[in-house]
C-alpha cells in the first residue's frame, strides 16, 4: 500500500512514459481552460449581481453577460471537464490494454485540434457569433474542429481495445468506449442539424435538449464513472465488489440517458409522449445510481477511514457520492409537480453545477492527483494545497448549490403567483444572487489552488527509487490493475 512496500511503482513505467506526453498535454490544457473559464464565470456571476456596475462592461460587447456566461459554461464542459476526462481516459485505456502504445501522437494531435477549436469557439461567441443555443454556442466551424478531434480519439480508443493483450474487458473500458463513440455521434448530430442543415420549428428544440441529456448522461457521466471504477479499486488494492452490477448500470445508462434531456422543457411545445418518456427515463436513471453507489460502497467496506489519509481516494469517493446526489435530485425534479416550481429558475443551474463542479470535477481531480506523480516520477510537494483544494471545493460547491436552490424555489413560487410582478421576484432573490458571487469566488480560489499544487509538482526533483529513500507519503499507492 505505501511506497516503501512497492517503491518501484513511483518510477515511470514503460506505459507511463509512452502516454506521458498526450496525458500531460490534456491535463495542462484542461487546467489552462479551467483558469480562463473560472475567471469568466466569476465575471458573469458578478455581472448578474450588479448589472449596472463597472464590471457589466456595457460598452464592451464581447465582455457582456450574454456572451461571457455561455462561454464560461462551454469552457467548463468542453474545455476543462472534457480535456481532463480524456486525459484520464487515455491513461486508463493504455494501462488496461497492457500493450505498448505506439500511437501516442494521435491523441496528442487530437488534443491540439480540440484546443484550436476551443480558441476559435471562444473567439466566435465573444465576438458575437454565438448560436444562442444553451451548451451548443460555439459556431459550427469550431464545432467541426472539435468533432474531428473526437473522431480521432474514438478511433484511437477502439483500436487500443481491439489490440489489447488483456483479454477480459473491464467495466471502465465499457464506459470509455461508450463515451468515445457516443460523443462524436450526438455532437455532430446536434451541430449539423441545428446550425448547418437547419431543422424546422420545434424539431430544433427536441434535438437541442436531446443533446443536453446526452452531453451530461453519455459523455460526462461515463467518463467520470470509468475513472471512479478504475481508481477506487486500485487505491484500495482490492477488486471491484461486482463487475456484473457495474455492467448492469452501464447498460441501463446506455439505454436511458439519451432520452432524458427533454425534462428541461416540460410543458413545452412538443408531443406529450416525448416529454413523458424523458421524465420516465430520468426517474429510471436511479437504477444505475443505486448500482454504482452499492458497488462502490461494498468495495470500500471497512476501509472508509482511508478517505482521511488518501486524498486522491477522497476526491474520487466524494465525487461518486455527488453523482448519486445529483442523480437523485434530477429524478425528484423530473416530476411535473416539482418541475412546475423549479423550471425556469436558478435551481436548474444548481443542478448543473452539482453535476459539473461536484461529480465530474471531483472524480477528475482524484484521478489527476493519482496519475500525475506516477507519470512524472515526482511527488506532490504540498499535501496541504491538495487539502485546501478539497475543502474549498466542498465549501464553495455546498454553498453554491444551497444558495441557488433556495433562490430557485423562491423564484419558482414567485413565478407561479401571477400577483407577484417580476421585479418583486428579483428583489426576493437578490441576496442569493449576491451569495452566488461568494460561492463562485470560493470555487474559483479552489481551482486556482489546484492549479498551483499542480505546478509545485514540477518543482520537486525526480525521485530515483533505486538509490533514494522514499519521502513522506502523501498519496497512497496501490496495485496497478483493479481486476483480481
Amino acid at each position: 500500500m505505501s511506497q516503501s512496500s512497492s517503491p518501484t511503482l513511483i518510477e515511470p513505467s514503460a506505459t507511463n512514459r509512452a502516454v506521458r506526453v498526450p496525458v500531460l498535454f490534456f491535463f495542462a490544457s484542461g487546467f489552462a481552460w479551467l483558469l480562463v473559464a473560472s475567471i469568466l464565470w466569476l465575471l458573469s456571476v458578478v455581472q448578474m449581481a450588479d448589472p449596472n456596475g463597472w464590471l457589466s462592461c456595457a460598452n464592451v460587447p464581447w465582455l457582456t453577460y450574454g456572451r461571457v456566461y455561455p462561454v464560461s459554461l462551454d469552457l467548463l464542459v468542453y474545455g476543462s471537464a472534457s480535456l481532463f476526462g480524456i486525459g484520464v481516459a487515455i491513461w486508463i485505456l493504455a494501462r488496461m490494454a497492457k500493450t505498448p502504445l505506439l500511437t501516442g501522437w494521435l491523441p496528442f494531435f487530437a488534443g491540439a485540434l480540440w484546443n484550436a477549436g476551443l480558441v476559435f469557439g471562444v473567439w466566435g461567441v465573444l465576438g458575437g457569433g454565438s448560436t444562442g443555443r444553451e451548451w451548443l454556442e460555439f459556431p459550427p466551424y469550431t464545432a467541426f474542429a472539435i468533432f474531428v478531434a473526437q473522431i480521432i480519439i474514438a478511433v484511437w480508443a477502439v483500436g487500443l481495445c481491439l489490440f489489447r493483450r488483456q483479454r477480459q474487458l473491464y467495466v471502465s473500458q465499457y464506459y470509455l468506449l461508450g463515451a468515445f463513440i457516443w460523443f462524436p455521434w450526438f455532437y455532430a448530430t446536434a451541430n449539423g442539424l441545428l446550425n448547418v442543415v437547419g431543422a424546422s420549428g420545434v424539431a430544433q428544440s427536441a434535438i437541442h435538449w436531446w443533446y443536453f441529456g446526452c452531453l451530461f448522461g453519455l459523455w460526462l457521466t461515463p467518463l467520470g464513472l470509468a475513472a471512479a471504477f478504475y481508481f477506487i479499486p486500485i487505491i484500495l488494492d482490492r477488486p471491484l465488489y461486482s463487475e456484473g452490477l457495474a455492467l448492469l448500470g452501464f447498460w441501463v445508462l446506455a439505454g436511458l440517458a439519451g432520452w432524458t434531456g427533454l425534462t428541461q422543457i416540460i410543458g413545452g411545445p412538443l408531443p406529450a409522449w416525448m416529454i413523458t418518456t424523458s421524465i420516465v427515463a430520468k426517474v429510471l436513471l436511479i437504477i444505475p445510481i443505486i448500482a454504482v453507489a452499492a458497488n462502490l460502497h461494498l468495495t470500500m467496506k471497512g476501509q472508509f477511514e482511508l478517505i482521511k489519509s488518501n486524498l486522491a481516494l477522497r476526491f474520487l469517493m466524494i465525487g461518486a457520492m455527488l453523482y448519486g446526489l445529483s442523480g437523485i435530485w434530477d429524478a425528484i425534479n423530473a416530476f411535473r409537480t416539482i418541475d412546475r416550481i423549479t423550471q425556469f429558475t436558478l435551481a436548474v443551474s444548481a443542478r448543473n453545477y452539482l453535476m459539473l463542479f461536484g461529480f465530474f470535477f471531483f472524480v477528475s481531480f482524484g484521478a489527476i492527483y493519482f496519475i500525475v506523480p506516477r507519470i512524472l516520477g515526482r511527488f506532490w510537494r504540498y499535501a496541504l494545497l491538495v487539502r485546501w483544494h478539497f475543502w474549498l471545493s466542498i465549501a464553495g460547491l455546498g454553498f453554491l448549490v444551497f444558495d441557488l436552490t433556495i433562490a430557485g424555489v423562491l423564484q419558482g413560487f414567485g413565478l407561479m403567483d401571477p400577483k407577484v410582478p417580476i421585479p418583486a421576484i428579483l428583489d426576493m432573490i437578490a441576496p442569493f444572487v449576491t451569495g452566488q458571487v461568494v460561492a463562485a469566488l470560493v470555487i474559483v480560489v479552489a481551482n486556482i489552488v489546484s492549479l498551483f499544487s499542480m505546478l509545485t509538482v514540477l518543482v520537486n526533483p525526480v525521485w530515483h527509487a533505486a538509490t533514494e529513500k522514499a519521502p513522506e507519503p502523501i498519496l497512497d499507492l496501490g496495485e496497478e490493475m483493479p481486476v483480481a
Binding site: 444562442g132 431543422a199 420545434v202
Partner: protein
C-alpha cells in the same frame, strides 16, 4: 464480457433508439406541419415571419437574450404562465413552424417573450429598453445593449427612429442616438413574437 463486437453493437443500438425517437422522428415529422386557416378571418395561422425578424433572431442569439428570457408558455395546470397573462393558451409545435431559429429557453430571470409583440407594440419602447433598461423599469437587472446603437449627426430633420432620451442620457447638441441595423432587426424580431391567433390543437383553457 470478452467480445468487443457485442459491446460496440450494444453501444450503437441502445443509443440509436433515442436518436431515432428524439432526433430522426421529430426532424421528419415537424418538417411536414402545415399552417391552419382561421375560419373567421380567413388568414393563415401561424402567419409568416418577416425576413428582417429572421435576421433579428441571430442578434437575439448572439447577445444571449435566451439566458434570461423563455419563449414558450405552459398549459394552465402546468405553471403560472397563463395566469400571468403571458399568453391565452399554451404554445404548440405549429406556433414555431415558421421560425428559422427556435429559442424555448430554460430561464426566466426576465419575463417570457412568447407574446411580447402583443403586449408591447411601441418600437421606441424597445429601443429605450435595450439602450437603458432601467429607464423603463428602475429595478430591472437587464444589462444595457449600447452597441446596438450609434450616435450620428442630425442631418436636417431628426431621424424617425432616433431615441427620445432625457436628462444625462441626452446626446450632445446636434447629434442623435439611432439604432444600428442589428438593433433594428432585433426589435423587428421581438415585435414579430405574437402567438395570439387560434389553433385548433391548443384551445384556450376555461376559467
Amino acid at each position: 464480457m470478452k467480445s468487443i463486437t457485442r459491446l460496440v453493437l450494444g453501444i450503437f443500438v441502445l443509443f440509436g433508439l433515442s436518436w431515432i425517437g428524439l432526433v430522426a422522428y421529430p426532424y421528419m415529422t415537424f418538417a411536414e406541419l402545415k399552417a391552419d386557416r382561421d375560419s373567421v378571418t380567413n388568414e393563415l395561422t401561424p402567419p409568416g415571419v418577416p425576413g428582417v425578424a429572421q435576421q433579428g433572431s441571430h442578434v437575439f442569439a448572439a447577445n444571449g437574450c435566451v439566458y434570461c428570457h423563455s419563449q414558450f408558455t405552459r398549459d394552465k395546470d402546468e405553471g403560472g404562465d397563463i395566469d400571468r397573462q403571458w399568453a391565452k393558451r399554451r404554445t404548440v409545435a405549429r406556433d414555431y413552424m415558421n421560425d428559422r431559429q427556435v429559442f424555448l429557453g430554460v430561464s426566466r430571470l426576465g419575463p417570457d417573450l412568447t407574446n411580447v409583440g402583443v403586449r408591447q407594440k411601441d418600437t421606441q419602447w424597445y429601443y429605450r429598453l435595450l439602450y437603458h433598461p432601467q429607464s423603463i423599469n428602475p429595478t430591472s437587472i437587464m444589462p444595457a445593449y449600447r452597441w446596438l446603437f450609434r450616435e450620428q449627426k442630425i442631418a436636417g430633420q431628426a431621424a424617425n427612429n432616433a431615441l427620445k432620451l432625457e436628462g444625462t442620457e441626452k446626446p450632445r447638441p446636434g447629434y442623435e442616438i439611432v439604432p444600428t441595423a442589428e438593433g433594428e432587426s432585433l426589435v423587428a424580431y421581438l415585435l414579430s413574437l405574437k402567438r395570439d391567433y387560434n389553433l385548433p390543437e391548443a384551445p384556450e383553457p376555461k376559467e
